[in-house]
């Protein structure tokens, strides 16, 4: 059964509830290990909900369908969010999510492409956009109108290979390629260590049709994705300003949120905090 083909009118409320459900899954996963890249996952949840339940054309029962839209998670350590989305999309069992990061689990803390629904190995940053360019070129050779969506991050823009890929995408006029740049302001050493601003201007200068939105505003995300459908000879960049830890005040305000580790006992408090916020929001 095809999903989102063609994308219908967006039910913003339903997509927001999906995002909440993805966050709920992520907290369950992180609780199991007592740690994880939960801050990034909570921040990107809205974009993933909009993609998997509105914009991406795919068949959860035929993952190799050649005409599928591709989603490449370049920041492999955001896997916690991808596992939640794949489970909610019916690609991996929801019950499996609790194995996140455990020995012998397919749901690694950084993505491997052996898990169903994963289109590339993440982990070594700066790989995703170039691989997206290659997939978009391959689809063009096949005269397919399937599109390629690549998530990458603000810290990842420090990898030179990101810009090698950005140059080539506009040179090859890959208008079916959409980059979602998660600007959450953090990287391994803390707040972004090398100033990447002005982010949107950089992408425009590289020839990308670029929008800049609040990545935690579902209406804005859905609208930016709709604009990116335009096949006008230009690759599309959507700069997502996101809040790491979105939905859990204690994580939102934590300075440790690149990699979050607290006592297992405290996770119940975190989850209660999330459910209170989610209940208040909807």
């Amino acid at each position: 059964m095809l999903r989102n083909s063609p994308p219908g009118t967006a039910d913003i409320g339903a997509l927001e509830r999906k995002a909440t459900q993805l966050r709920r899954h992520m907290l369950t996963m992180a609780r199991g290990q007592g740690q994880g890249y939960i801050g990034q996952g909570l921040g990107i949840a809205d974009a993933l909900a909009a993609l998997y339940f509105h914009e991406l054309r795919y068949d959860p029962h035929n993952l190799a369908w050649p005409e599928r839209d591709r989603f490449l998670l370049s920041t492999g350590h955001y896997s916690i969010a991808l596992w939640a989305a794949l489970a909610e999309a019916g690609i991996i069992p929801v019950e499996e999510l609790v194995t996140y990061g455990a020995d012998n689990s397919r749901l690694e803390m950084s993505t491997l492409d052996t898990t169903p629904g994963v289109e590339m190995i993440g982990g070594s940053l700066g790989h995703g956009l170039g691989q997206g360019v290659g997939q978009a070129l391959g689809l063009r050779v096949d005269r397919s109108d399937a599109r390629v969506f690549v998530e990458l991050s603000d810290g990842e823009m420090q990898e030179g290979s990101t810009w090698e890929a950005a140059m080539s995408a506009s040179h090859f006029k890959l208008d079916g390629l959409v980059a979602l740049i998660d600007c959450n302001g953090i990287q391994a050493d803390g707040p972004v260590v090398l100033d990447m601003e002005p982010v949107a201007d950089k992408w425009r200068a590289f020839g990308w049709e670029t929008s800049e939105i609040d990545g935690n505003d579902m209406t804005a995300v859905v609208s930016a994705l709709a604009d990116a459908r335009n096949r006008n000879g230009k690759p599309k960049a959507i700069v997502l300003r996101t809040l790491p830890g979105k939905g859990v005040p204690r994580i939102e305000s934590s300075e440790k949120s690149h990699f979050f580790r607290i006592d297992v006992a405290q996770w119940d408090g975190i989850i209660a905090e999330f459910e209170n916020s989610a209940g208040a929001g909807q």
Binding site: M120, V133, D142, E164
Partner: protein
Amino acid sequence: MEAGRTLAMGQDEAGGGDRQSVEAPFGRALARLGQSHPDIVGLTADLGKYTDILPFRDAFPDRFFNVGMAEQNLVAVAAGLARTGKVPFATTYGVFATRRAYDFVAIALAHSNLNVKIVAGLPGLTTGYGGTHQAIEDLALMRMIPGLTIIDPCDATEIEAATEAIAEHRGPVYMRLLRGSVPVVFEPGYRFEIGKARRLRDGSDVGIISTGFMTERALDAADALRKQGISAGVLHVPTIKPFDAEAVTEFAADAGHIVTAENHVVVGGLASLVVETLFDAGIAKKVTRIGLPDRYIECGAVPTLQAKYGLTTDAVIATITGLS
């Protein structure tokens, strides 16, 4: 030649001598394969002219992508193309494919076992451009990557045969390229098979195990040595990985003294593989290693450098006659 002018920028790097040669055997083979294999695509990083891939571009312009001077992106784009079912042949120089794009070869290609063929120019001492362009340690670097097939062809016949073989093989490949006017050493009937070594000469005194263009030198040396009463066998090992340990062990058992010959540093490449293989098999024989020293090489004319660093037929003969 004008005084002071060297061959440092010459385009033909393999041997030469009296043998016939073929122009751009790789590019011709790839353009031919493109007809029967619609999934083959070509890529380069601003070195199309210098890696003999232009015959493919001219035949299939819609299936050829020049990504500019960006070797990480070259490999990443090739990986993406492979994910859509294409069979990418990506060319650059060996130094860039290895030193510059290593993480992409290891993770984007090999870790995912993607069907990408990297064809790498200027292997070993085939340019006088100096250490920046001489891929003297590429076999060692690439050998460490799990699942990567590595080929060092000897001549035009083998390059054409290997191009066909790697197109049919599913998985990532690193192949060294001899470009321009490439000598023909092997007869037209020569069979190349990935992972198989070929015994080209039998001999009891000395067994030469060689790869790449050093096999041409080894064959000529063996013929010359025979006239001097020295019986030298030659085992050609064009596939560095997977390594044909069985053939090497069998060949070594028949030889009094083993000599390895490679267009590469003598650490980490063929010599190391042979020593490891013999040690594992419990064969205790002397191994003399012909190859480049563990240091960067200067600029200069290729024939001058090859003579200086022992990659000529005369040097192979001298090494073997000097064995005690």
